[in-house]
Symmetry: C2
Subunit: 248 residues, 2 copies
């Protein structure tokens, strides 16, 4: 049986990778991934063979991994963040049935919701939703419904893929939906290039967020009705009152 | 300025901790946490001073951390999973204002949604919600609304704190709400004692989940309408069709 790792390498540099992820990559002969992550990994593990792939053509890339593994080589597919959150773990497991001599194992990692949250403070301490604004594989109506229902049920909301070249106004459209359910002063946050050069974060209101252009390396946070700005931090309380009756 | 780390140590053993988390703990003189996590850490870092605290009394525990730090000692508060997901990062930052000579920094970690997801397959590849069933600080009506709206918007759902001594029937109550919005055959998963001794996972239907008693070390996963059982894995596709037009 050829074991294939799908590894979440965390948001950026080596320090946010788990030991398990690092070990899995070290065990491998070949590491496959998007160019930008491969460049990061080459600095950490220079002696591996790397196969770089551009965005898109993801099924083809996955099948390439299975074909390499069948040659008896140990292969890892590297994903930024967590391999199971908008990552390749799902597609690899969907295709696994076509390769009965291969077995796919996911190694979890710190996804942008967590790393960006820590950078901003603690925006996701209580119940939250994660929504991607990419409508390549999801109808926009469904994304819209998820935003609307997430807001109506007072979840904190973390938005992935807020923007791309072709979707320049999607964040504004998302904000317009949210503004139907919540006030313009709602506390929001941006985390950009987490764990990489140029890392920065910013706290702003939903009204301000609506006017903002962000790039594809940005993760967006919308607070729930209890979220506060405390100095330079965005903090969501765990419940309605500080109390000696909390549970871990 | 006394820097205090609130560190997410991941779900279990050392291997699922990030390098950054490990380094932060190594820098510290004192590590504070629940007894069960302190026991895990003592094996990894035996030379630290540990302050163990039982569940509850969390504000008191946080203030103890600030008081230790003001003595000039380097203190870390250790949380399982991610410090910012039902963890202590929020409360520490809420209290930070009372201690102007202290600064709190969160170090992210792999939360149970990610680690449990990897164990089960890839249940959270697309949009998802995270909901806790603990109603100590959240009215049950609000939890119910979040479950209902999460289901109605076709999110995958990850449930934390599905059970405790006093809340033996809460998972059943949650399933009854979900069953109003989705079919009894919906693919669900359980991940128990992730990364620790006795780790196990199980895939089952929502109808079966309703009859199941789980303990407080279990994380529950409810698939969205597209989630499939593929052999021993629970997999949510990234979108509606496999395609060469996907985005990372």
């Amino acid at each position: 049986m050829n074991l294939i790792y799908v590894v979440g390498i965390g948001p950026g540099g080596e320090s946010q990778m788990t030991l398990q992820a690092r070990q899995a990559l070290e065990e491998c002969d070949v590491i496959v991934g998007y160019t930008v992550y491969v460049e990061l990994l080459k600095e950490i593990l220079p002696d591996k063979e790397y196969l770089e792939t551009p965005m898109r053509q993801e099924e083809k890339r996955c099948r390439m991994v299975f074909e390499e593994a069948r040659k008896g080589r140990k292969v890892a597919m590297a994903c930024s963040g967590d391999a199971g959150v908008y990552g390749m773990a799902g597609l690899m497991m969907e295709l696994e049935g076509d390769y009965p001599d291969c077995q796919v194992r996911a190694i979890p990692g710190v996804t942008a919701a967590l790393a960006g949250g820590a950078l901003l403070g603690a925006p996701l301490v209580h119940d939250f939703v994660v929504v991607s604004l990419s409508d390549l594989l999801t109808p926009w109506e469904k994304i819209e419904k998820r935003l609307r229902y997430g807001a109506a049920a007072d979840f904190s909301i973390c938005i992935y893929n807020p923007s791309s070249r072709k979707r320049g106004d999607y964040l504004r459209r998302a904000c317009d939906i949210l503004l139907e359910e919540m006030e313009g002063e709602r506390v929001c946050g941006l985390a950009c290039r987490i764990g990489r050069e140029g890392e920065r974060c910013e706290i702003l209101t939903l009204k301000e967020l609506r006017e903002r252009h962000v790039d594809m390396f940005t993760t967006v946070f919308i607070g729930n009705s209890q979220t506060k700005r405390m100095g330079e931090k965005m903090v969501t309380p765990r419940g309605y009152h500080l109390s000696e009756q909390q549970e871990g």
